[in-house]
């Protein structure tokens, strides 16, 4: 099906482990984004990408790594997970420059224990 999919939906990992959250979109949108959502903070931008092989930091990039070797995929890696990274992570994509708004994935709920 066309759309934007995130996997896994739920993940529990231990402190210090590396974990990768996947995001795949089928629209060939140029722009892709990763946000985290925490109570009281709304959504905060972690990283974004304007095209394949072009990425840039958002508001809260520390502890995260992204890559975009293909237009349709934008994985987010936590190199050494910490409890403060327990959150709900949303991936989003947009065509052009976001004028039509973002389309969000369903989110990944990550718990670091």
């Amino acid at each position: 099906d066309a759309g934007i999919t995130q996997s896994p939906r739920y993940k529990i990992t231990e402190t210090g482990r590396q974990v990768t959250l996947m995001c795949h979109q089928t629209w060939s949108h140029s722009y892709m984004f990763w946000y985290r959502q925490d109570l009281g903070h709304g959504l905060r931008l972690i990283y974004y990408s304007a095209a394949a092989d072009i990425t840039d930091k958002g508001e809260v990039p520390d502890g995260y790594v992204v890559s975009r070797s293909k237009t349709e995929n934008f994985p987010l890696t936590l190199e050494s997970a910490t409890r403060s990274q327990t959150s709900v992570y949303f991936c989003a994509s947009s065509e052009s420059r976001g004028w039509y708004g973002y389309t969000f994935g369903s989110g990944t709920r990550l718990t670091v224990v």
Binding site: A50, W99, Y102
Partner: protein, 114 residues
């Protein structure tokens, strides 16, 4: 960068009441864009409306209307005759001229009781 304040953390209304969600933003851009998103209890984020900074005409779309006032940097969203299905968290999100980055407010949780 943009900043946005949604001072109302949570609002509770009874069905059929009108409710206005407030949004105040800060920006240094002369041209910018304003969006509202809805997040129902199921968790997905749904795009609702957008405005340009150079278009202050307010609009009504069904039960939704919005009031954009550049002079006070406010972009308020009103639901008329609220319904239980309107219960959700609503986010205001300004974006600058290079609007590939959205900055979301902390959200307002709306509870509509039957």
């Amino acid at each position: 960068a943009q900043k946005v304040t949604q001072a109302q953390t949570e609002i509770s209304v009874v069905e059929k009441e009108d409710v206005t969600l407030d949004c105040v933003y800060e920006t240094r851009d002369t041209t910018y864009y304003l969006f509202w998103y809805k997040q129902p209890p199921s968790g997905e984020l749904v795009f609702l409306i957008r405005r340009n900074s150079f278009d202050e005409q307010n609009e009504i779309s069904g039960r939704y209307s919005w009031n954009f006032q550049k002079s006070t940097s406010s972009f308020n969203f009103t639901i008329t005759a609220s319904q239980v299905v309107d219960s959700a968290v609503y986010f205001c999100a300004p974006a600058g001229d290079n609007f590939n980055k959205f900055y979301f407010g902390s959200g307002t949780k709306l509870n509509v009781k039957p």
